[in-house]
């Protein structure tokens, strides 16, 4: 009897709780609808036709990504890795209308790109756009929605919470993110979600979804919208971002503090100084602690603090003198140096089709791998199997230092020399390479002109398609 009474009370309680939670669920559901309705109309299914350079030749491929319109003029936010090298961009809006867009600018270091819809193609000229929120006020555990085209399935919505607001990824590998921490979410994010918005229940965009982890579940990463906004504004002024560079790498000071037994010691520990950099010339050395930049304190206790420090340096005025206040071995000193533009940014690629090779301006990973000591040169991203470069034993990763004795400083010089050789009809080209820090000599032999012309005609036909 007592047992039944207990059961009855329990059922009552559950019923009451259920009624209460029904209300909560309904409120949440309505909030989700509201948020969805504010952003979904501005969601864009992005399909760029991209040039991709693989195995030493140019190919075209159609990829799928996502984007979000953020202004009445039809500007769209997406990822750099979606829009880079796009020859043509197709955008399908939420009303299923399909129009083209142009790439306004892209920034590889933050993986952000801005597109402009070709609004004249639209039947309805009133363009829905989403409001960009504030990513500094996000909380771990906050409910968010991810909108986009996972695996090409357009206009999909998924839900989750913010799992972390300060996820740090070391600055290496192909996916670099030196200047930002990441918003981590368990809302389902798959390939194709890239460039789509992560939104709060207020219906504001708080992040741009950019990464998922292969073979993992519920691990998605978004770029905080405050950084996106700043980069987008710069991209709207000019197509690329110029960043300042002093040639220094840092470590957080937590270990150093403990080692020195200084409990309140602020700054950043200089771990590496690049040769021939402004910092090296000014005498900055590994082991120095930078405490102030132009009088303003700078501090990185944990690795999560590094991106904002790197960003502060990247935002310094290029070409101007900046004062670094330094502590070293108990002594304080000020070092002034002139900040330069970062080398190797936005390196273009070029298909030397007659050689069966794709050439690109230098990048850091090649600079390091090939143990170079100046910031000049071009490298081969790929060599077409069986082509003249391949037959000359040239490999992907090789740096071209000279052609027929002429120094190749950058891709422009390379293109000029390459085109001149084509005009001259030269079929024997002497190339000096750098391979793992050592010279390597080779001669590229091109086929005599008739077959060369045939190939050119074929390529032209291909391009007109």
């Amino acid at each position: 009897m007592r047992y039944f009474l207990f059961l009855f009370v329990a059922l009552l309680l559950v019923g009451r709780n259920a009624a209460a939670s029904n209300d909560v669920i309904e409120a949440l559901q309505n909030q989700i609808y509201k948020a969805r309705d504010k952003v979904l109309p501005a969601l864009v299914h992005v399909e760029p036709v991209k040039k991709v350079y693989t195995s030493g030749e140019k190919q075209r491929t159609l990829v799928t990504g996502s984007g979000v319109i953020f202004s009445a003029e039809g500007y769209v936010l997406t990822n750099h890795h979606v829009a880079e090298n796009a020859e043509k961009v197709w955008c399908t809006l939420s009303n299923k209308e399909r129009i083209t867009a142009t790439v306004v600018g892209t920034d590889p270091s933050t993986d952000i790109a801005v597109l402009k819809l070709n609004v004249e193609e639209l039947s309805d000229k009133s363009i829905p756009f989403a409001t960009l929120g504030n990513s500094d006020t996000l909380h771990v555990g906050q409910i968010v929605l991810a909108l986009g085209s996972p695996l090409g399935l357009s206009r999909s919505v998924s839900m989750g919470v913010i799992s972390s607001i300060d996820r740090y990824f070391p600055d290496n590998g192909s996916m670099i993110s030196p200047y930002n921490l990441w918003i981590q979410t368990d809302a389902a994010i798959n390939p194709g979600n890239s460039g789509g918005p992560l939104i709060s229940l207020d219906g504001e965009v708080v992040g741009i979804n950019a990464r998922a982890v292969f073979m993992a579940e519920n691990l998605g990463f978004a770029i905080p919208i405050n950084l996106v906004r700043e980069v987008a504004q710069k991209l709207l002024k000019g197509t690329t971002l110029k960043r300042a560079w002093i040639g220094v790498e840092f470590q957080p000071t937590k270990d150093f503090r403990e080692y020195m037994e200084f409990s309140d010691f602020n700054g950043i520990l200089v771990s590496h100084v690049e040769e021939n950099s402004p910092a090296a010339r000014a005498g900055i050395k590994p082991g120095y602690i930078i405490q102030k930049i132009d009088g303003v304190p700078v501090h990185a206790e944990y690795k999560e603090d590094l991106p904002s420090v790197r960003k502060r340096i990247a935002d310094l005025p290029i070409g101007q003198e900046v004062t670094f206040s330094i502590w070293y071995n108990g002594k304080a000193m000020d070092i002034k140096l002139k900040v330069e533009k970062e080398p190797f940014m936005d390196q273009p690629e070029f298909e030397a089709d007659k050689w069966g090779a794709v050439v690109k301006g230098l990048e850091w990973h090649i600079y390091r791998m090939q143990m170079l000591n100046d910031y000049q040169g071009v490298y081969l991203t790929g060599v077409k199997s069986g082509g003249p470069a391949d037959l000359a034993n040239i490999r992907g990763g090789d740096v071209i230092s000279k052609i027929n004795g002429q120094k190749i400083n950058d891709l422009k010089v390379f293109q000029t020399v390459y085109e001149q050789l084509n005009l001259n009809g030269d079929t024997t080209i002497f190339v000096e390479l750098v391979r793992r820090g050592n010279p390597y000599f080779t001669v590229i032999k091109l086929p005599e002109s008739p077959s060369g012309n045939a190939k050119q005609t074929f390529n032209k036909l291909g391009e007109e398609n």
Partner: protein, 481 residues
């Protein structure tokens, strides 16, 4: 009646004569054409023995501790006093920078050598030395009373011909109780470039390489080489080559002289192979035509290592070597560069060679005094910091050449790190160079040792190491508590 038996006897004697003459003929024909396979086997069996030892693989548990793996190899007694020849893979560390033969950072030196003879007698033995280019190592039985052990004398292989019958005398593995394995085979191919090698078809797998190869006359002419199938990958995955499922035989010429004068691995005595000290590429037809180099091939110098014989002889990057001791080089593809390496390493250290050099459109002669290649990091002096979980070694030239660093670079090389110990947790990685401890520069291994001992005696909470990882510097903080 009496004559009958005599006639019978005569008949018997006659038939006996007949038989004997056939027998003589038979014996005679065997002595000119060879011995019976059974005799070849019996005659040589007792010189083939088992070399037992432990391979030591660095264990995960602690720096300086090893996981021991029992190993057996076919050994061949090469003198009456218990010198046994075995495959060089018993010693997995590389000796100098031209020999190669090193396997990994995770191998220690092999230990507990024993030799078990055909008659079941087992002796303790010690490792004497190895020659990676000849693919042989030597161990010595530690029993001074031994002086009449059956052994093998190897013969030159000049008269070996394709189609000739040869015999392999090998051993089966432990699970077959090391029973002898005897296989008649045919010489299928004889390679001459980059050096002589005999190829034979192959039926049954023996316990290991190092098996004895005999002719029909019972002459020892070589040993079997490790199966190349184990390494059937290419540097570049862009061409195909059929799998090599034949057996390779190293002829006597590879190691014959070493038996008389075995290589000795005493760390302070070790003499490396001869080296020239260059990075090189082949003079391709295209380069030869472009530079208008006479001849049919050569070696292009890409880099000269500092303090090398090449540097001392005044060779330069871009020089083309067209002949070696007046013999024209015909190397026109990178795959053939081994031929040139072979020419150099076959020279005794401290010998003089003459190279023809093509430089700036002109030929010139250069006399180069060769000397021994620098010792490899595997043999370098070491220091293990077991509580902190890492091992450092003296910075050897091979590392500095590889990293393109000047030979004057100071510091110690991080050879091994225990990931779960303080140094590993602090982020120290294998292959980096420690250049400072607590802001004090590290000169060499001895100074590192002194500095560490001094620093640790002060009971610090943390030590700060400045390290160079390839071309980038960083700081590593190691918790000492």
């Amino acid at each position: 009646m009496q004559s009958k038996p005599s006639i019978n006897l005569e008949k018997k004697i006659n038939s006996m004569r007949h038989f004997l003459s056939i027998l003589f003929l038979l014996i005679f024909s065997i002595t000119i054409s060879g011995q019976s396979p059974q005799e070849v086997f019996k005659k040589n069996r007792s010189a083939v023995c088992i070399v037992k030892f432990y391979k030591n693989i660095s264990s995960n548990s602690q720096i300086g501790s090893f996981t021991k793996i029992k190993q057996n190899r076919i050994g061949i007694a090469v003198n009456a006093k218990g010198l046994v020849m075995v495959s060089s893979d018993v010693y997995p560390l590389s000796l100098d920078i031209v020999s190669g033969g090193g396997s990994s950072f995770f191998s220690g030196e092999p230990t507990d050598f024993k030799v078990k003879l055909w008659n079941g007698k087992e002796y303790e033995a010690e490792f004497i030395g190895k020659d990676d280019l000849a693919d042989v190592a030597f161990v010595q039985i530690k029993d001074s009373l031994l002086n009449n052990l059956p052994f093998i004398e190897f013969s030159p292989t000049d008269d070996i011909q394709i189609g000739q019958t040869i015999y392999l005398l090998e051993l089966l593995g432990e699970s077959e109780n090391f029973e002898p394995l005897f296989t008649p085979l045919t010489v299928n191919a004889i390679l001459t470039v980059p050096r002589k090698k005999i190829l034979v078809n192959h039926y049954l797998n023996a316990m290991s390489s190092g098996g004895l190869v005999l002719t029909g006359e019972g002459k020892a002419i070589g040993i079997t080489l490790p199966n190349r199938n184990d390494f059937s990958f290419h540097d570049r995955m862009d061409f195909e080559e059929p799998a090599a499922n034949y057996l390779e035989v190293a002829p006597t010429e590879w190691f014959g002289d070493l038996i008389k004068n075995p290589p000795v691995l005493a760390k302070d005595v070790y003499q490396g192979k001869s080296w020239l000290g260059i990075r090189m590429q082949a003079l391709t037809k295209e380069l030869r035509e472009y530079w208008k180099v006479p001849g049919e091939g050569g070696v292009v110098i890409d880099q000269i290592f500092s303090q090398s014989p090449a540097e001392k002889a005044g060779l330069k990057t871009g020089d083309v070597i067209t002949s070696f001791n007046e013999n024209e080089l015909r190397i026109d593809m990178d795959e053939d560069l081994d031929q040139f390496r072979e020419l150099i390493t076959q020279q005794p250290p401290d010998s003089k060679i003459t190279l023809s050099i093509f430089r700036d459109g002109k030929q010139q002669k250069k006399e180069v005094k060769l000397y021994a290649a620098p010792r490899a990091i595997d043999l370098a002096e070491k220091y293990q910091l077991i509580p902190l979980g890492f091992e450092v070694r003296e910075l050897t030239h091979d590392i500095l050449y590889d990293y393109n660093l000047p030979l004057s670079t100071e510091g110690v090389y991080v050879y091994q790190v225990d990931r779960a110990a303080p140094a590993g947790i602090g982020g120290l990685s294998i292959g980096s160079i420690i250049t400072e401890i607590d802001n004090q520069p590290v000169k060499d291994l001895a100074s590192f040792k002194n500095m560490v001992e001094k620093v640790l005696s002060g009971n610090p909470k943390k030590i700060m190491l400045k390290v160079q990882v390839r071309l980038v510097t960083e700081f590593v903080f190691v918790d000492v508590k």
